[in-house]
């Protein structure tokens, strides 16, 4: 696990990957297991139907909440991109400035290796880490569904989980850029954290205010909201766009890191 910067970074993240991966997988599985009990609560439907229209728009299709897919969407998939992004940027913002702050960077970067390689390998490791977390969650859901014999579309489960990855990769690239370009990892975390929270708030407001409906294209979290009836397709086009933007940001991160003093 120490034969490259990529693997060393993943190794350093192994505790985090394990904790979040298993923790969220367990939380997802619990939702699957307790869904039948939830389904039998008629008062809830009455309550949900009595909500003001704004709240209804926000929650989406209320009847759908009584399907397992809809229930998971409300309880897990809607916040998963935000959660993965926060996990990702908490690490990415420390990725390079952190080595400077910890005074481990001098020895690493005095080796005959390029700075570009360091940034790219760290980025790939972080992107892999969140992918493993998302994969573990999907695995947990599938196992739980099989265990309770739930009638659910597996492709939907997988895609709804992995759907959180493209925006997460983008935010990781942003935090990494901050970590390369800014003085401290706190600044990088503030930059990326600000953008993530801002995007999330924007999407939330956009959903409930008709005036902002047209702003969907620039709302990052809008693209990876999963519909309840989604039969399975990932939105490949937007995923590709996010990956493209991530590559661009990572390239900027490399440039910033190559130019800076350590």
């Amino acid at each position: 696990m120490l034969s490259s910067i990529y693997l060393k970074t993943l190794r350093d993240l192994r505790g985090l990957i394990l904790a979040w991966g298993l923790g969220l997988a367990a939380a997802g599985a619990l939702n699957v297991i307790f869904f039948p009990a939830f389904q039998k609560l008629p008062e809830l439907l009455t309550f949900l139907k009595s909500l003001p229209p704004v709240m209804k728009t926000f929650l989406g299709d209320i009847d759908a909440v009584f399907t397992l897919e809809g229930f998971l969407k409300m309880k897990l998939f809607d916040i998963l991109p935000l959660l993965l992004s926060v996990i990702g940027i908490s690490q990415a913002s420390r990725a390079l400035t952190g080595e400077v702050e910890d005074k481990t960077g001098d020895m690493l970067l005095a080796l005959p290796i390029t700075r570009r390689r360091v940034v790219l390998e760290k980025y790939l490791a972080l992107a892999t880490a969140v992918a493993i977390i998302a994969g573990t969650i999907a695995g947990g859901l599938i196992v739980a569904c099989a265990a309770v014999g739930a009638d659910v579309n597996t492709v939907y489960l997988v895609n709804a989980t992995l759907n959180g990855l493209p925006p997460t990769w983008l935010f990781i690239a942003l935090a990494l850029f901050g970590s390369c370009a800014l003085k401290t990892s706190r600044h990088a975390a503030m930059l990326a954290g600000g953008v993530v929270i801002g995007s999330y708030v924007f999407e939330t407001v956009r959903l409930i205010s008709p005036a902002l409906a047209g702003w969907k294209p620039i709302s990052i979290f809008a693209h990876h909201r999963v519909g309840v009836t989604l039969s399975g397709e990932l939105s490949w086009m937007t995923a590709a766009a996010f990956v493209g933007l991530s590559i661009l940001l990572t390239a900027l991160a490399v440039r910033a890191f190559e130019r800076r003093d350590l």
């Binding site: 120490l2 034969s3 005074k103 001098d106 020895m107 005095a110 080796l111 290796i113 350590l262």
Partner: protein
């Protein structure tokens, strides 16, 4: 392969308005042990970090082993082993894991050499680095610098925190590197330290190069501080024209001076004053350098 091990031309680094190092011209030849001496804050670490392309010069240029530090990074560092001055190692790794990591990032670490150095230095390889003392971390830092058997070793205050026995091992290791025709550039704020190991010494102060001296030559020049106690009060006149004699001072019936070369002419000139006693000693290199730093060296033999 005649090019210099290190060559700096007008190398300058300002941190905002703070001077790190200014207009440094320096050549370190291949195969020598070169000491870079100066008090804290003199600019030693700044110079070293410029050489390794960790920071970028405000102006000027530098090359190592004939390759430009900036333009030919990282190739210029291919054959360089570096021990940082102020550093941390990955605390969650053991020493052995750290060496595995470093060996995977540079292809020139050979296991047998690594073991041999680790044994000599008494490096603790099997415990997490976070649990090691400062001295033991320092040994690991030395190990990773020496183990690749690099053409050029750049060591920033290498003996800091080492106990005397390990210091001795370190001096041996440096001598061996020189005997193999490889080069060592080491910084220190301790003259007695560099005096033991170095062939040449550059001194820096406040970001400027003060002097470059050949250690053997310094010794051979045999500068002496001389005191003559006489029966009659001496005068300076007979001594002033003598070659190699300066800093003549009269204090009562004693005459103090500095003499470069033989003492005979001085004694001849002193004969009329009836010399009762002659005291002469060589100043230490330390005193010599103190004088370079503008501090007054004892001109007198007490």
């Amino acid at each position: 392969m005649n090019e210099s091990a290190i060559l700096c031309r007008g190398l300058t680094k300002f941190y905002g308005r703070t001077r790190g190092i200014e207009a440094l011209d320096l050549e370190v030849r291949r195969g020598e042990v070169f000491g870079y001496l100066g008090p804290n804050g003199a600019g030693k670490t700044t110079t070293i970090r410029l050489l390794l392309d960790l920071i970028r010069p405000t102006s000027g240029e530098a090359s190592i082993l004939g390759r430009d530090c900036r333009a030919e990074s990282p190739g210029a560092r291919q054959a360089v082993g570096y021990q940082p001055g102020e550093f941390n190692l990955y605390e969650n790794l053991t020493g052995a894991q750290l060496m595995t990591y470093i060996a995977s990032l540079r292809s020139d670490v050979d296991t047998a050499t690594l073991r041999a150095y680790a044994n000599r230095l008494g490096v603790i390889l099997d415990r997490p680095i976070g649990t090691l003392s400062h001295g033991n971390k320092q040994k690991l830092a030395l190990l990773q610098a020496f183990a690749p058997r690099p053409e050029l070793l750049i060591l920033d205050e290498p003996t800091n925190g080492l106990d005397p026995l390990v210091r001795q091992v370190f001096h041996e290791m440096v001598r061996e590197v020189r005997d193999e025709g490889r080069t060592v550039f080491l910084s220190s704020h301790d003259l007695s330290e560099v005096e033991k190991t170095c062939d040449r010494i550059a001194t820096v102060k406040d970001g400027r190069l003060v002097a470059i001296e050949d250690v053997a030559e310094l010794r051979a020049r045999s500068l002496r501080l001389v005191r003559l106690d006489c029966a009659h009060e001496p005068s300076a006149e007979p001594f002033a024209p003598l070659e190699g004699v300066d800093r003549i001072e009269i204090a009562g019936r004693s005459l103090h001076c500095r003499v470069r070369g033989p003492l005979g002419p001085v004694l001849n000139a002193a004969a009329p004053f009836e010399v009762i006693d002659v005291i002469s000693r060589k100043p230490s290199l330390e005193e010599f350098f103190l004088s370079l730093y503008g501090r007054e060296v004892a001109d007198h033999v007490e």
